[in-house]
Every structure is written in C-alpha cells, then in structure tokens.
Homo-oligomer: 216 residues x 2
C-alpha cells in the first residue's frame, strides 16, 4: 500500500535528530529487517554500492565509539547503531564485482554489459584519488537519507552523527586494511519521552527561501 | 498513518532509476507539495540547509539541460525536474541566517543559541574551502535520498542524475554569482510502460556482502 501525501508529510515533520533515545524500547524484527533492506536497496551512482554498513552490536564497542563521538548518548542508547563506511577507492576489481553481480541478476554474461562498463570506466577514469573517495562518500549520504526517511515513515527515530572522530571509528572497528572508511553514522531506535528536543518547534528556512522556480 | 515494513520494502524494491518517463502523466498537486516538503524538511548537518532546490519549469531550459546531461531524456520527459544546488561556502552570514531562523522558530533571541553557534563555528572553522564545499554537497545527497525515498513510498518515480555537466548547468541556470552550484539533479514523474529497465531484475550485492555485524 502506498503512502498518502499527508501521511508522508506528518512523518517527515515528526522526524527530528533524536538526542535521547528510550534505551528500553527495541525495534521489532520485521521493522529492523525493512531498514536493512532500505540500506541494501539504496540507489547509488551506476549501482556501484561503494559502501559497507557496519551494525555495531556489542556494548563495549559502542562505549568506545561514544567516546569518539563527543560522548553523545545516542551511540550507546539507541536500539541500533549503524556506521556507514565508504569504499576508499574504485578499482577495476570493484567494477568487475559489480558487473558480475549485475550480469548474474539479469541472466547475462558480464561481457554483455560491456557498453555499460565502458561508461563506468570512462567516468571513474576521470577522477583522481580524492574525487573517487568523495564520490563514494556522497553515495553513502544517499543511503543515509534513504535510511532516515524509511525509518521516519515507519515511525522509527534516528539521529545522524557526522561530527564524529572518523579516524578513531576506523581504528575501533578495525577498518584499517579493509578498503572502507567511516563516512557517517546513524543511531536508530525510539525517542525517549524525556527528550526536550522532541517538542521543540521545527526550524527550517521557508519554502520560498530554499525552493526556486526557474522559468516562470 | 505509519507505513508497514512490508509496504516500505515493496516500495523500495519497486523503485528504480527510471530511464523513460511517461511525459503525459503528471503528479497531482498534493503529491508534488509533499515532495517539496520532503526537500524543505530534509535533515542537514547542524540544520544549516546549505542548499537551494531549483525546480525547472520551462521547456527551453530543460532542453538545454538535457544537452548538458548526455542527452538523457529524463531531463525533458519527466513531469518535474529538480536541480539540487549546494552552497559554495559557509560564511558567518550563513550561520547568522540559520541562527535567526532557529531563534525565531523557537521564540528565542539568537544570543540564546550562543553555545550551539559555538559548536558550529568550531566545526566550520576547521574546514578549508574545498572541505566546506564537499560538506555542503554531502548534505545535498541526504536531501536527494529523502526525495527519492519519499517519492518511492508514494509510488512516484525518480531518476537521479549525477553524471551531468555541472558547470554547464550552472551557466544555464544563471547560478554564476549566486553562491550556489549544481550538486546533483533528479527527475520526478511516472515511469513509461515502455521502459524496459522497469522490469529488469533488481541487481544488488547480497545483504551479507554489504551489511557487517560487528561484535557477535
């Protein structure tokens, strides 16, 4: 069943960057599975999915990540905590893996996808190392957006964490030689009734300020 | 009304980067308004909203943008076409504007927000020019994600356009001295029954491949 525009609007209006989670309240399995699917199904440039989503389950690691996050309580108190990591490179091998996955899904041989691969290679070939990394990180932010919006429409709360010590995260999560590095993190759970930010009036620039109609 | 996990999953599975739009099919006003709200309400770092969403209405401009987009037909054929532009800097004036907006929404004086402002200034002060621009662009990708997911849950199709000639877009849209530059674009409408990509099997790395559980 589709969502009605008014319901979407309410859900997005209700959403806020949750500061205090109700640590006793857990997501049910079906809701959590749908959020994992939201990550897996997130769109990315050329479909390359230059990411890994690290779900941190153990309390000790979450304690350490909290220290690397200005001691923000969301890291330990939310039911779930996801670190979105971005591929640090984009190699032929990465593109190979994607071509194989795509060909298999579509019942083709990778060679059948040669024109598509040519486009990818052309695009990637024009990027220097930092541009590749930035490009991958931007894709991670699409996944973050899809995650937060998906949570919101199901009435699940989130808090994105961007101002974190990413190098410390990488160390804590042992990402050193993985080819992935922390891009951004997101706490997922349910707001506490005591979060004073939950009832703060929503602050946004007006629609006229941020939306510009070109051509009329 | 909240969305059920199974409905969310179907909607995200149904979504794909639409190549061929039905140019005769328009969004109704309520659905379009909800999508504009999805953009306005998108989360951003510190709430700074370093973006402008340019909705391109006139056919002549869309023709020119299509030329700057490898002639992709989505640019002209989708009901709506949105260019997400990112602030090219983050000045004291930008932060001032946000503090004023926030203070007004919350019935406070901007001075009451001094501690929050201090955090923002500390963060921004540590960024060089390119890092600020990259940071702003990443926020635009959250908005892109929120837009695409919001559309999907309402049964609306989208196609993100990233491999576009952004400098040409900036020229065509007259962004030269605006302090904003094209980050990414998104076509919004309804898929054509003739889009062969609509029925292509969904290709994604497996969940085991992209989701890593840390700590069990």
């Amino acid at each position: 069943m589709k969502m009605q525009p008014a319901d979407l609007r309410s859900a997005l209006y209700y959403r806020y960057a949750t500061k205090k989670f109700d640590s006793a309240r857990k997501l049910d399995a079906e809701t959590w599975e749908a959020l994992l699917d939201a990550l897996v199904l997130a769109p990315s440039s050329f479909g390359l999915q230059p990411w890994r989503f690290v779900v941190v389950e153990d309390a000790a690691t979450r304690d350490r990540l909290r220290e690397a996050s200005w001691n923000q309580p969301q890291v330990t108190d939310a039911d779930r905590f996801i670190v979105i990591t971005a591929r640090t490179d984009m190699t032929e091998g990465d593109v190979d893996a994607w071509m194989e996955c795509m060909a298999e899904s579509q019942g083709k041989a990778p060679a059948d996808l040669a024109p598509y691969r040519g486009m990818i290679d052309g695009f990637v070939g024009a990027l220097d190392e930092r541009a590749k990394r930035d490009w991958n990180i931007r894709q991670c932010y699409i996944a973050l957006g899809q995650l937060m919006t998906s949570a919101a429409v199901m009435g699940v709360d989130t808090c994105p964490l961007e101002g974190i010590d990413k190098a410390a995260y990488d160390t804590i999560l042992g990402l050193g030689y993985s080819g992935y590095a922390t891009a951004v993190a997101c706490a997922v759970g349910y707001r506490s009734g005591e979060d004073k930010y939950a009832s703060a009036p929503k602050a946004r620039f007006s629609r006229d300020h941020v939306v510009r109609i070109h051509g009329i």
